[in-house]
């Protein structure tokens, strides 16, 4: 079907590469970070309470659920609900009809999927301010994310993680 619905196909591909993603926040951060690693996602992100967030991505995921390409499982988790996303058989069929070329995204998505949402929130926040020097980024994290109480050690780990991901993304391009 040529380019119609190709942006939907990219999101399905990313979720397929992760096998399963638990949590809407985690899904948002994973796509944002992948986009910053130059994977060609079209959704636009703005800074939000939990860091970069895309209304367009929320909408697209909801559409994919309505289209029967994604399964969304809602689970009660303490005082709130958590959402779990997997690909349906129809989604697999759609992807086979609409192949997406994002070589080795699987490695990046799997790696991120092994991290927790809190850490990915920190990583994505650092990437959002990647035009600023590190000292200013740290100040931003401490002021805008004061409730998360990130430590300097965690921020260093996040920087290291970004460097590692970038290396993988460069390998991806080759």
């Amino acid at each position: 079907m040529k380019s119609l619905l190709k942006d939907h196909a990219k999101i399905i591909h990313a979720i397929a590469a992760s096998e399963e993603i638990i949590g809407r926040k985690k899904l948002q951060k994973m796509v944002y970070i992948a986009k910053k690693m130059t994977f060609p996602f079209q959704e636009r992100f703005q800074f939000h309470f939990y860091g970069p967030y895309s209304e367009e991505l929320t909408l697209r995921v909801e559409e994919l659920c309505n289209m029967g390409f994604l399964d969304e499982w809602k689970e009660k988790k303490g005082g709130y609900y958590q959402y779990r996303y997997t690909l349906t058989d129809n989604g697999k069929e759609f992807l086979s009809l609409n192949p997406v070329s994002m070589p080795n995204i699987q490695e990046i998505m799997s790696d991120m999927n092994n991290q927790n949402a809190r850490f990915l929130e920190l990583v994505s926040t650092i990437l959002y301010f990647d035009n600023l020097p590190k000292e200013e980024v740290i100040e931003k994290v401490f002021t805008l994310k004061s409730k998360q109480r990130y430590t300097e050690e965690e921020i260093d780990q996040a920087y290291q993680y970004i460097a590692n991901l970038k290396e993988k993304a460069v390998k991806t391009d080759c």
Partner: protein, 433 residues
Amino acid sequence: MTYPMEKLREEKVFKDPVHRYVHVRDRVIWDLIGTKEFQRLRRIKQLGTTYLTFHGAEHSRFNHSLGVYEIVRRIADDVFKGSPEWNEEDRLLSLCAALLHDLGHGPFSHSFEKVFDLDHEYFTRAIILGETEVNKVLSKVSKDFPKKVAEVIAKTSKNKLVVSLISSQIDADRMDYLQRDAYFTGVSYGHFDMERILRVMQPTEDQVVFKQSGMHAVEDYIMSRYQMYWQVYFHPVTRSAEVILTKILHRAKQLHETSYSFKSQPVHFYSMFNGEMKLQDYIKLDEAVILYYFQMWQEEEDSILRDLCCRFMNRNLYKYSEFDPAKEYKKLAELSILFERAGIDPDYYLVVDSSSDLPYDFYRPGEEEERLPIQLLMKKGDIRELSRESEIVDAISGKRRTDHKLYYPADFLYDDSSEPAIKKEIRRLLDLE
């Protein structure tokens, strides 16, 4: 008197159809309005292609920016002044952020951003922080003042009260555009009692709250927003014009990439085509420039570009059908093949367009799409989230409405001078027979 505090000898006023008058007393604000980057907003329509549906919608981002400034000025000078939670030093920061919040919008920005991967928020920051007349004015206030203004607009400022004035579920931006867009489109929706809302606003440390007695005015605002989105902003004819505009840009870009020789060289597009948009090139763009090219491209050799530009300039828009992606995505694939067989390129002439809106949402711990909720200040002094008190708002809270449409040039499909059988089949699939 220092520059940040300097007042004009005589107050300047702009006549305004929504607020009656926009009052300017601060030298800084007057100087900002006079910059070339702010004056550029006169040449960018607030509602993009909506004028092709509602002929009155020719108002500009300049009008709207002044309106947002005026609302924030009234909040700061008439409502918050003297309140212990309001820091008078934040007044100028709030006014400048309100005035400049849309500074980076380009012509028909929705389509341009999509096709060329641009971001108006990036350009708002770039104009405020770069080598511009706006930056020169702001830097005269203090060295770090441009950065503070940019952070408020980007919602990354630690001053959450000021951010919430410009950007929240009930902010000066929305209060102005709902009323202004209703006025210029001529629709009867979009009206609400802003005077009442301003009177019941109170500052807190990190956001604005509303006295319980003003709840019905706030309800009215939420409902008018809901109606404006579906009656005006997502109007299917406006979306048709936007679909064609987007396709013109795609076509021009594709032709450039295949070294097509334009009769009218798209000089102003080169940096976009090459993905190297510089600030100074961006500032030169406005709707007059873009429409000049569309006018000229009506005489291009390339039949697709020529046709799309003729359609846009002469309002010969695509027709539309309701489309349910969940049930009809296979039909879409079938249509795409038939379009190709009929010699109508589906990349340009078969388009799914979706609109979606969430009229109001409230905080749910742990979820990502939380928005800053509207808080009511109850008579006993406690704070309650709006949808817990208002049954009307509760009924629409968290409920996203989405609409999908399939756009196509019906005139091509009824032209049986070529491939009549295939076109008949397309018409059958689209329920046009």
